[in-house]
Symmetry: C2
């Protein structure tokens, strides 16, 4: 039916959707989902958690969150709405509900992705207009899904006399980012401000968000799962969650497991942010100092042991004024901007060397 619509140029929304007022809703499963590591039976899960039974329960639950996933489509509608349902009633005090369980729309203009509007969640079931009063003409759209919740259903609404159709993934190649809550997106103000998403829009490269809030601890079953994902590069931003000792015990296995499966693919390790909660809390400061020291030490050991195509990025990730977090741990959008100031060019430079 979908192909038929594309060929006949008939308004696909008539055929797929359900009309409400003068807005017609299309199931987002009929459009293009991007940001996935591999296909999964559950459309909006990041990883097939049934396939990897031995991963910790908390990790499996977090992989049901739609961080980094987005829907891409084209429409000539003057308005775009959404109806969506998420699984969990709660939000966190350090995130906006928009980031946690809302939607975030970008539209391409002159080759760049420009912010267009958000879907503000109410409780767990929301119908909301994302943008309205747009000029006529075709729009290429990129709609980010919630960072910290599981999508149970999602429909996109367009004006009844317009078309909506899947478009191709605008991002090339595939670069995994495995990490903590900071990778997952806490505390970006909206889904599109998570740093992997920003990196994709800025570079055109398909960065895959495998951030695991509080649980990016390099568990062995997770390392084994990561090695099942074939990618052009692997970024390990996972020094924030494991203890300093766990970093010493687990980093070698993670790096070698990926290296053995994908000889020649660059592996990029990133130091953890210096936690602003440690400005006065000496225990927090000690812990993050230990994490970064041990992560760097493991990097050096692996390099000495002959592991090639391995890189380490470090710097003043949050700047120097201590204003870059929401809660002492998680970057706000200012902190994320400063992280990109430090990591973006080195990452892209390394990727260029490998033709990514």
């Amino acid at each position: 039916m979908l192909l038929f619509c594309l060929f006949t140029m008939a308004p696909i929304s008539y055929l797929l959707g359900q009309q409400i007022g003068n807005v017609v809703y299309v199931d987002a499963k009929e459009l293009t989902l991007i940001g996935k590591a591999n296909p999964t039976p559950h459309h909006y899960h990041r990883i097939d958690t049934l396939q990897y039974q031995t991963m910790p329960a908390a990790v499996k639950k977090l992989f049901t969150n739609s961080a980094g996933l987005a829907i891409v489509f084209k429409t000539n509608s003057n308005t775009i709405s959404a109806r969506w349902t998420t699984a969990n009633p709660k939000t966190s005090s350090n995130m906006t509900a928009i980031a946690h369980k809302g939607l975030d729309l970008y539209i391409k203009r002159d080759g760049e992705w420009i912010f267009a509007g958000v879907g503000r969640p109410t409780v767990n079931s929301t119908t909301a207009q994302v943008v309205q009063n747009m000029e006529d003409g075709e729009k290429e759209c990129l709609l980010y899904l919630p960072l910290y919740d599981e999508i149970k259903s999602l429909e996109i609404g367009v004006a009844e006399d317009s078309f909506i159709e899947p478009s191709v993934n605008p991002f090339r190649k595939k670069v995994l980012i495995y990490g903590s809550s900071i990778t997952q997106g806490a505390s970006a103000s909206r889904p599109g401000m998570a740093y992997p998403a920003r990196l994709s829009r800025k570079s055109g490269i398909n960065f895959i968000n495998l951030g695991l809030s509080g649980n990016g601890k390099m568990h062995q079953p997770v390392a084994d799962m990561l090695a099942d994902i074939e990618a052009d590069a692997y970024i390990l931003d996972c020094a924030a969650n494991p203890s300093p000792d766990e970093i010493s015990q687990r980093t070698g296995y993670l790096v070698k497991t990926i290296r053995n499966r994908y000889p020649g693919a660059p592996i990029i390790m990133i130091q953890s942010v210096v936690r602003e909660g440690g400005n006065f809390d000496v225990k927090v400061k000690e812990r993050v100092t230990g994490q970064n020291k041990n992560f760097k030490h493991e990097f050096e050991k692996l390099k000495s042991a002959g592991i090639k195509d391995l890189y380490f990025i470090e710097g003043e990730l949050l700047g120097t004024d201590h204003e870059g977090t929401t809660d002492g741990v998680h970057p706000n959008d200012l902190g994320f901007d400063r992280i990109l100031d430090v990591i973006e060019n080195p990452i892209l430079e390394i990727l260029r060397q490998y033709g990514v």
Copy 2:
């Protein structure tokens, strides 16, 4: 009792507070409250809403929000906790609960205010540790109150063997900022990231937050109330809420009313942010263009009419990449940082000319 404690150097917490575990709580009313325009009968209201009965109901309600208020105190405790109650059950989808109804602590180090920790709200009644494991010694503390809620009660907790005492307002002079939700602090990630608070910490000047979410519309009774507040300067960041027509009708009255009461005090008008919601929504774009055009036009009329000591600040308030908002309207911390890049130096330069 308070003075007695200060003179005898006895741990004031024993005398004022209620011990819970090994934390002793002191009513914040015994400490120093800063950020007020004038004293009010209700300790944590920004304005005495009973005195100004003719202000719109929404304005009166918003002046019960504690945006810009902070408690300053000294303690030698190694931990700081808080117990507080706020009035309203809801938060907004475009703000964190920490910003909305939480607390935000800074401690002075080497003459600078450094972020120390947040009080994460649960529902409307919270007990939370804000910072722990601090080194010994006296700390000068600045604790920001919720941006978008009314404080019903607030107690500060310190270790039972430590002292806590009021300290003097660390900020000099008094500069009012009257404005919209953006002035009030939406969508800063925490209370101390609202731009008037950031300006105070950076400059040492006492900026007073009179932001009124959605209601900074230059109503005549509000203009009259503002003129009752004697200050060293008046910043009008209020082009975001009134319609373009209301701006034309009301700006003259507001500026002249302040000017007549305080000849010689600088009045600084700031253009509204260009709403990112207007990137594709042509009606939003039209409205903000009209607001800024009319606000500038009123400025020029007032200058031509001989009003002196009147200034206008404009620029690329949110930068050029369209990433500086949480929801298309309200700046995220990145957007606020860019606003400061534009307005901070011009404001401070003007204030310097007037000895502020």
